[in-house]
């Protein structure tokens, strides 16, 4: 009776075993991880994938069984993403990030970094001049909650105290550092995401951050405490402000790509800029973790001005060397 069988029926009967085998292997890879696949299985998978793919195109042209084509379509899609997808190995991926990707992404953002830095500097200078002339401007730049009593109404003595306030014990510093890190990282991610909206919100955010900085410096300068205050700020500030500048730069690069995509299509330009900026942003989160530790621990424990300046300088030099030290290009 064999001649009575449909061609599509025989076609399926002959290949079904292989499809099922491919499905089993994919299930195994997805639930237990690629590492659990044996060597033969890894070699077998692409072959089975190509076989399934050719089955799919045959099935589309000879079979009218729609459940069969639907099955083959999902099977091939799953296998496609396995065969051609990123096979990320996390230890290597993380290592490559620190050795190559992170500095490379920062170097690629150098123009945006300069712009971002200049905006922050403009904000700082403007706020400094305004607050120095009229202390009433102070609260235009600084949120009273953030000021925490460090405002124009405070006495010089109490201001000095805030700079050298040494806690009785190291209690609570860890929690404080964690709070600073999570808060700052959230703000940085926000600045980055805002960049997509054609740069302007990020620019405003950079100006405002600079403004806050300038207002504080002006406040302490009016009491003759400027050198001490800068030491207090910069011990973590070189790391933290640098990170914020980069977050702004990452945001700018996306906004700029969306607004002025050049020869590429807007969508492609945005995707390319977004991925590069994302690498820089992952780095920013790392920097802010370092800054949080410096701010939470080092600033409270180190009260010597020279030591504070030394730490600030070493950190800045370290970051600059790490990011901008020329390296040989390795093909990706």
């Amino acid at each position: 009776m064999a001649e009575l069988q449909l061609k599509s029926w025989r076609f399926r009967a002959e290949r079904e075993q292989d499809w099922r085998r491919l499905e089993t292997l994919l299930n195994k890879a997805e639930t237990q991880g690629v590492e659990r696949l044996k060597r033969d299985e890894l070699l077998e998978l692409p072959l089975l994938y190509r076989q399934a793919l050719s089955s799919l195109s045959v099935a589309r042209s000879i079979s009218l069984d729609q459940s069969l084509t639907a099955y083959l379509e999902t099977l091939c899609t799953r296998a496609y993403f396995f065969v051609y997808g990123a096979r990320t190995r996390w230890p290597q991926r993380v290592a490559r990030f620190f050795v190559r990707d992170w500095p490379a992404s920062i170097q690629a953002l150098w123009r945006e970094t300069v712009v971002s830095f200049l905006l922050m500097a403009v904000g700082t200078v403007a706020a400094y001049v305004l607050v120095l002339r009229d202390a009433g401007w102070f609260f235009s730049f600084v949120d009273p909650e953030l000021a925490g009593g460090r405002d124009p109404m405070a006495t010089t003595a109490s201001l000095r105290e805030t700079l050298y306030d040494k806690p009785d014990a190291a209690d609570g510093l860890g929690a404080f550092a964690t709070f600073l890190f999570t808060h700052n990282a959230q703000v940085a991610l926000f600045a980055f995401a805002l960049g997509f909206l054609l740069c302007l919100p990020t620019a405003a955010l950079m100006l405002m951050t600079g403004g806050m900085l300038g207002a504080f410096v002006a406040l302490f300068a009016s009491r003759g405490l400027v050198a001490e205050e800068i030491g207090w700020l910069m011990i973590h500030g070189t790391t933290e402000l640098f990170a914020i500048v980069i977050a702004g730069a990452a945001g700018f690069s996306i906004g700029w790509a969306v607004a002025f995509p050049g020869a590429r299509s807007r969508v492609d330009a945005a995707a390319e800029a977004g991925r590069r900026a994302a690498t820089a942003m992952a780095g920013v989160v790392c920097m802010l973790a370092v800054a949080g530790v410096l701010e939470g621990f080092a600033r409270q424990l180190v009260t010597n001005d020279i030591a504070r300046y030394a730490i600030a300088g070493v950190m800045l030099a370290g970051w600059l060397a790490y990011f901008y030290w020329p390296r040989t290009k390795v093909p990706a």
Binding site: L6, L189, F192, V267
Partner: protein, 303 residues
């Protein structure tokens, strides 16, 4: 499932106007390096919304349990340094949950968070290439402006000028939230910034072949040529769905319709047997004509 992938557009002469784009039918073409179009279905708004809701529920659930456990630990131990540990774990948990839950799951092999997996969705790159960690990071960092910024505007309150500003902000935020409604592949801002999109990847089981002709032939039912020419491929697929679902009432109705249409006089047989036999015979006929290059779309497609 009647949707068909869009055919590749032939190369046009350079000066010709761009043809108007076909209306979006919810499907997207993805041609593998082997030259086969995989025809992916783009995730719908409802599926993606539900997936996001599920993920938020999971995050808040886990963080809530974490908070309760930490509080119990803090009260039970009553050691001062324990409070600090509790605070650190809580702060980090909140931060990681908010920012890295999505990254962690989408950067893995399945490219889907538990919510997406439940809805049968996965993230792919728009060009079909490998989904890299930086793309996943970018698409999820954008959630800050897509979800949390509008949320702040909607929850913010103010008076006078502030109220007007908040209102404007809410409208602006609304545009960001509703962005996927205004583009072809239902991509959100994060998808654009990362070059990704979300497609449906359902689990489909291989069902048995209904055209087991040996079985139907042994039941002794035969159809004449004109009887089999009554229908085309579209009707065959509807018939397949009816048989697979197996609803008795629907089968009776369909069987009656077919009997009337083809003028069946082969006696009284059970509806299921009749439908099975007719399906197998019709498919055999349509497939053999397909091999000769004639694809009969539906019953109105007569030569």
């Amino acid at each position: 499932m009647t949707a068909v992938g869009k055919p590749l557009q032939a190369a046009k002469p350079a000066k010709a106007r761009k043809p108007p784009r076909e209306p979006f039918d919810g499907w997207r073409e993805l041609v593998t390096p082997e030259g086969v179009d995989l025809r992916l279905r783009v995730g719908t708004y409802a599926e993606r919304g539900l997936a996001l809701l599920l993920d938020f529920l999971i995050i808040t659930g886990v963080l809530g349990v974490l908070t309760i456990v930490l509080l119990i630990v803090a009260f039970a131990t009553r050691v001062t340094w324990m409070n600090e540990v509790v605070a650190i774990v809580w702060l980090l948990g909140m931060f990681l949950g908010r920012n890295f839950y999505f990254f962690w799951f989408e950067a893995r092999q399945r490219a889907a968070t538990p919510g997406k997996r439940a809805m049968g969705l996965r993230v792919i790159t728009a060009d079909g290439g490998a989904l890299t960690a930086d793309a996943v990071f970018a698409r999820n960092a954008m959630r800050e402006v897509e979800v949390f910024l509008p949320l702040t505007f909607f929850l913010a309150q103010g008076e006078g000028v502030d109220a007007a500003l908040v209102g404007l902000g809410a409208i602006w935020g609304g545009v960001l939230v509703l962005f996927p409604l205004f583009n072809r592949d239902r991509r959100r801002l994060g998808d654009l910034a990362a070059g990704t999109m979300v497609v449906k990847q359902p689990k489909v089981r291989l069902q048995s072949d209904l055209a087991d002709t040996e079985r139907t032939a042994s039941s002794g039912i035969a159809f004449t040529g004109p009887q089999l020419d009554a229908y085309g491929i579209k009707e065959l697929h509807v018939l397949e769905d009816v048989i697979r679902v197996g609803d008795r009432k629907a089968m009776t109705e369909v069987a009656a319709r077919i009997r009337a249409k083809i003028g069946w006089d082969g006696g009284d047989i059970a509806d299921r047997t009749f439908l099975n036999a007719y399906y197998a015979a019709l498919r055999a006929r349509l497939e053999s004509r397909l091999l000769f290059g004639r694809r009969r779309k539906d019953k109105f497609d007569v030569d």
